[in-house]
Amino acid sequence: MSIIKVEKLTLVYGQGTSFEKTALNDVSFEIQSGDFVGVIGHTGSGKSTLVQLLNGLLKPTDGKVFLDGKDIWANPKKIRNVRFKVGMVFQYPEYQLFEETVYKDIAFGPKNMGMTEEETDQKVRSAAEFAGLQSDHLYKSPFDLSGGEKRRAAIAGVIAMDPDVLILDEPTAGLDPLGRDVLLSQIRNYHNMRKNTIVLVSHSMEDVARICDKILVMDHGNKKMFDTTENVFLRAEELESIGLRIPQITKIMHMLKQNGVNINANIFTVEQAFNEIINYLGT
């Protein structure tokens, strides 16, 4: 069943002024419940605009967004409920922390939803665990944490709302390679356990290739592709024409295959490639 359906979505910033700019142009697609979708594209391709439309932070100039089959703007007064169902982690989410303790900050979302103390407590603790925060961090001031820990706390703040759809906008921006790897695999684990829908926005093909099942490619406000990761990477040349590159390791595997090495070329991580080549050499 499709959880999010987008129809002919168009968004124009500053309509009617001299700064008019079309950020999104006639985009339609459907996301199935339980999908793990990566949204990829260059800076200014409309990725961030698109995801802000999905949870009703922006109102489309034209077109519609359906959540569970219902138009989210049918009743603008109920838009908060949409935001509870579609959780959104912004770029550099650590700048939204404000409470005295990490615990209170994570509890902000659940409290706004009207959960009881007990429910909130349980959500906060499980969210902190999913985000990889140690329990003694919960009673520290968020401003005393390190950069990476702040990011985790902020992500936990959204996970605590237990959304059906979790949107993450560039969650790994500014993290070191190790921090990035850990965070990505935690997001994947979270998805595997909760079986909810995740939309991950990134400009790094490597990141998206590693953890996403489907990829939505955006270019200058237009939808270019929306398919499974394997199928998208088969169109490497098209991707390169809009300035995106398939992961290096996938490219190498494609080249090996073209040169007559009989291997599976749908490989996105060095580890998988290593195993595949060992297998090939063994046979």
């Binding site: 802000q52 932070l57 935001r83 912004f90 700048y95 939204q96 922390l97 404000f98 902000f108 979302g109």
Partner: protein, 271 residues
């Protein structure tokens, strides 16, 4: 929401007004404001209004943007206008108990309304057509004589430049933080006044934290580039007077003389 503020916004262009020296514009703005309040009869008021409108047109900026900045003070203008109707002397036109409308009152109301509207219009002309850096440069030059009283003019100008420079940045930041908290279910639009003030905390705290962080970063960056105040600094863009400025000054002088003459010849309708 915060993007709708036009007051203080710079709109790039190449019109005659854009090309005037910022110093000329500031001095003329002050002079125009003085004279719009000096104009005491309809002829001189009309003269000042016509000239201001001509200047507004000469900027070649869409009139709608001016209307937007007028809209901000609409309430103030209407309120003072209405209050002034009842405050005046002279021939009584209409009377109900203690309330009376007089000829003087109506004159007062018209003058106050037009004066404030024109004031806002020509102030917008200055900010719309002058980039913030030109504006502070010009202010620094104009205030230069104060440095003999040991007032650090350059530092004040630098502070103003930085403040102006960071207005859009902070607005954008506010927007982002508001969105982030709204995504977590923050309710900013309903409830009574105390509830609303409380709802601002999740926005103000991150905003202050990030403002201090930015200030700190900026100070470090300036120190890394060996910034040390105003002595012997040269500028990339040097302000210079041109024939255009001379023309603007002479033109304005003629208008001002006109206002003075008409004030002397025709009896004043307002104080």
């Amino acid at each position: 929401m915060v993007r709708n503020i036009t007051l203080g916004q710079f709109i790039p262009g190449h019109s005659v007004i854009h090309r005037l020296d910022a110093r000329t514009k500031i001095l003329l703005l002050i002079a125009y404001i003085v004279f719009i309040f000096c104009a005491a009869n309809y002829i001189s008021l009309l003269m000042m209004t016509a000239v201001s409108l001509a200047v507004v047109l000469a900027t070649k900026i869409k009139f709608r943007l001016y209307l937007k900045s007028l809209k901000v003070i609409l309430l103030v203008v209407l309120l003072t206008g209405i209050l002034n109707i009842f405050n005046g002397s002279g021939r009584i036109l209409w009377e109900l108990g203690l309330i009376k409308i007089t000829e003087g009152g109506i004159n007062n109301a018209i003058f106050v309304t037009v004066r404030i509207a024109v004031l806002v219009l020509i102030s917008s002309v200055l900010t719309f057509t002058t980039s913030p850096s030109d504006l502070t440069d010009a202010l620094e030059k104009i205030l230069k004589p104060l440095s003999i009283f040991h007032i650090k003019v350059h530092e004040i100008a630098m502070m103003m430049t930085i403040a102006l420079r960071f207005i859009p940045v902070l607005l954008e930041e506010t927007d982002k933080i508001m969105n982030a908290q709204k995504a977590r279910g923050a309710d900013l639009e309903s409830g009574n006044i105390f509830y609303r003030i409380k709802a601002l905390i999740p926005i103000l705290i991150p905003l202050f934290v990030s403002a201090f962080r930015r200030a700190n970063d900026l100070a470090t960056a300036m120190e890394c580039r060996c910034y040390n105040g105003g002595v012997n600094r040269t500028r990339m863009k040097v302000l210079c007077f041109s024939g255009l400025d001379l023309f603007g000054l002479i033109f304005s002088m003629i208008i001002f003389v006109g206002v003075i003459v008409s004030n002397l010849c025709i009896p004043a309708v307002v104080r």
